[in-house]
């Protein structure tokens, strides 16, 4: 799975996710990627999120929208919301994976509970950050 989130110079956010699914998947199984709110979500009032991992768990937890809700209704920061969902809620049900998120202020969160996640980000004129391992 691959994905991207961004905020532009007008303060608008967007999210995109694309995947080939899981090796040996059967019965036209689909994961969280194309389900708006589960694997992909964007809202200028809160954040933009793109997920990767074991899709069934992300669907059950409505991960991307859940993060948006924690920001909107509970006043969490972007980082707090991502950690609550990925490092607490998902782990409790055995959901492995992670996500990337950005908010209209330009904050970025790269949160995962697996051993690694291929990731990169760049803000303003700052140096590009690349990461693979935990």
């Amino acid at each position: 799975t691959v994905g991207a989130v961004a905020v532009d110079s007008a303060g608008n956010v967007a999210a995109a996710t694309s995947t080939g699914g899981m090796t040996n998947k059967n019965f036209n199984r689909i994961g969280d990627t194309p389900i708006i709110g589960a694997g992909t979500y964007a809202n200028n009032a809160t954040c933009a999120v793109s997920c990767t991992g074991h899709g069934e768990f992300f669907i059950r937890s409505v991960v991307a929208y859940d993060i948006s809700c924690l920001i909107e209704y509970k006043g969490y920061t972007l980082q707090e919301a991502c950690e609550e969902v990925v490092l607490n809620k998902l782990i409790k049900i055995g959901g492995e994976g992670g996500l990337i998120a950005v908010n209209p202020a330009g904050d970025i969160a790269l949160t995962f509970n697996s051993e690694g996640m291929y990731r990169a980000c760049k803000r303003n004129d700052e140096q590009t950050i690349l990461g693979i391992y935990k």
Binding site: T1, V2, G3, A4, V5, A6, V7, D8, A10, N12, V13, A15, A16, T17, S18, T19, G20, G21, M22, T23, N24, K25, N26, N28, I30, G31, T33, P34, I35, I36, T40, A48, S50, T52, G53, E96, G97, L99, I100, V102, P104, A105, D107, I108, L110, F112, S114, E115, G116, M117, Y118, R119, A120, C121, K122, R123, N124, T128, L130, I132
Partner: protein, 175 residues
């Protein structure tokens, strides 16, 4: 001044120092850098977030290292089925596809659905028909073939197991 920012991912899983060679690590980092910096350049020129995420994901879809687009894994039937989604935070408009085959860049199809359809999510043959009507590029099966992905599939195709992105094939799964 408004901050501009972009983040990308190329999948998660059991990725450790032991599972990647130095050469592979360099290749992954180069592909990630290319995608994130292309998206950032677009934002720096005043481009929209929607255009930036579509561009970054298109670049990642074209890279066989990642499980999407050209690098998509094999299904039980030995085919490639892809899913994708795109959402705009300003308008809350969204486009999504599930289970499409032969589409070179599924993310471009989601953009067409977002902009030219009253629907949010299309699947299978219908989504492919919509793609043809909107001149979305298709690619032959050979475009999606990758020897490493094929080997991954061969190891599990006679079982009911399925594997996540970048999942290390641990022996106990096949006992």
């Amino acid at each position: 001044m408004q901050n501009i920012a972009i983040a990308i991912h190329g999948g998660a899983g059991t990725i450790t120092k032991n599972t990647l060679t130095t050469t592979q690590e360099i290749a992954f980092n180069a592909a990630l850098k290319q995608a994130v910096e292309a998206g950032h350049r677009l934002l720096a020129k005043g481009g929209t977030a929607l255009d930036a995420v579509e561009l970054a994901v298109t670049i990642l879809e074209d890279e066989p290292l990642f499980n999407a687009g050209r690098g998509s894994v094999f299904t039980k039937a030995g085919k490639h089925e892809m899913d994708a989604a795109l959402m705009c935070g300003k308008t809350m408009a969204a486009g999504a596809v599930a289970g499409v085959r032969g589409i070179k860049n599924p993310i471009k199809l989601t953009r067409a659905i977002l902009e030219k359809s009253d629907n949010v999510m299309l699947s299978g043959y219908g989504a492919e028909e919509f793609a043809r009507e909107h001149a979305i590029e298709f690619a032959p099966e050979s475009y999606f073939y990758d020897a490493y992905r094929y080997q991954q599939w061969c190891e599990v195709r006679d079982t009911n197991l399925f594997l996540m992105d970048h999942t290390e094939q641990r022996e106990q799964k096949f006992g």
